[in-house]
Symmetry: C2
Subunit: 217 residues, 2 copies
């Protein structure tokens, strides 16, 4: 089960816990299932993490946050050497980082599922997700976009636009089964690049509308 048996038990447990919590949700996974998948002993979870709930929190602190950092890094790299990226460039970099970034397909799906679970049912990890990741990411995007927008663009509308963009990108990731059925497509490289292109275009047009609106006033 564990890809790297020489990895420390604690790490193997975190890996498998992340995977299982993402796919099934907190309550649907048992400690027994996790330790079995991690090829470790049943008592190991309590030894290393105290209890199940704390293991869940550690998954966010020591796995989820790191993945997020990777995604944001890849986002930043795509824009590196471009001091004044245009709106389409920013959005393309964002969409690529999310939908085709440094994570594997499975990791990406897990990552989105965990985030989405916390957003749907606020738990102890929601504060972590929002304050440490969503809000900074939000601000970063707004900072990048602002030079491309009129000075007096409505701040609240801009925030709603950014939320919409993140929302639909997240949706394309976590709702993969449903999207696949409706579109009649597999999530292969071809479809992913179409998705990225679509998010870029659709969101660019949405933001351009914001610009035009502002001009009229």
């Amino acid at each position: 089960m564990a890809e790297q048996s020489d990895e420390h038990t604690r790490e193997r447990i975190l890996d498998q816990a992340e995977r299982l919590f993402a796919v099934k949700g907190f309550e649907a996974v048992s400690i027994r299932e996790i330790t079995r998948a991690a090829a470790s002993n049943l008592a190991a979870v309590n030894y290393y993490f105290g209890n199940k709930k704390n293991l869940y929190l550690e998954v966010f602190r020591q796995r989820w946050m790191i993945r997020t950092r990777l995604v944001r890094q890849s986002f930043a790299e795509k824009l590196a050497g471009n001091p004044n990226p245009s709106i389409p460039e920013i959005l393309h970099a964002m969409a690529r980082a999310f939908l085709d970034g440094p994570l594997s397909d499975e990791q990406r799906r897990q990552h989105a599922l965990l985030m989405q679970r916390e957003m749907a049912r606020p738990g102890d990890a929601l504060k972590l997700v929002v304050e440490e990741v969503m809000r900074p990411y939000h601000e970063e995007l707004i900072t990048l976009l602002r030079p491309n927008l009129p000075r007096h663009v409505d701040e609240e509308r801009l925030r709603l636009c950014v939320l919409s963009i993140l929302g639909m990108t997240l949706y394309f990731t976590f709702a993969r089964p449903a999207v696949s059925i409706v579109m009649g497509r597999q999530y292969d490289a071809c479809f992913k690049s179409q998705l990225i292109q679509h998010v870029q275009t659709f969101a660019t047009d949405g933001l351009n509308g914001l610009v035009a609106e502002n001009r009229k006033q």
Copy 2:
């Protein structure tokens, strides 16, 4: 607990099951909790529904589907008497039906949460959700939009646009806690009408981009 004690036991159980499954997820809710909330006996679930899983499916069949029909009806009504609705009119009606339609705030949230749970983890209800609701809704929107679009608009791009619109609308409903924190706003009437307006505008611009694209070719 139960608002209507004179309602039949079976109905009270369905009501409470819907609420609890939506908020907590299938595995996190026990039959005990449901029957307690429905002020009925522990054995009632098995008597009326056979087992827990079947109760879950009945929630979709006898509650979720009906709510969907209500939402679509309210969508249709908003467009009634308008034989050729424009894109903004269609989108406004759609956003209003979803974000401020015939359901109560709590019902709306429950509805979105149940759908989103099924999309995230495909279960026996996913087929029901997709084939009976998502796909027809999808086709209806496309049919309404098409007269406003150039004849040779890319079919796949259009489908992706509709998915994006549904995705972000759904996101604003189920991710309410997170959206509230990021925006620093309560989901009151004022914020909801802003959301509706935003979805309409943002999506209209996104679709208009599709039109412009087509012209260039």
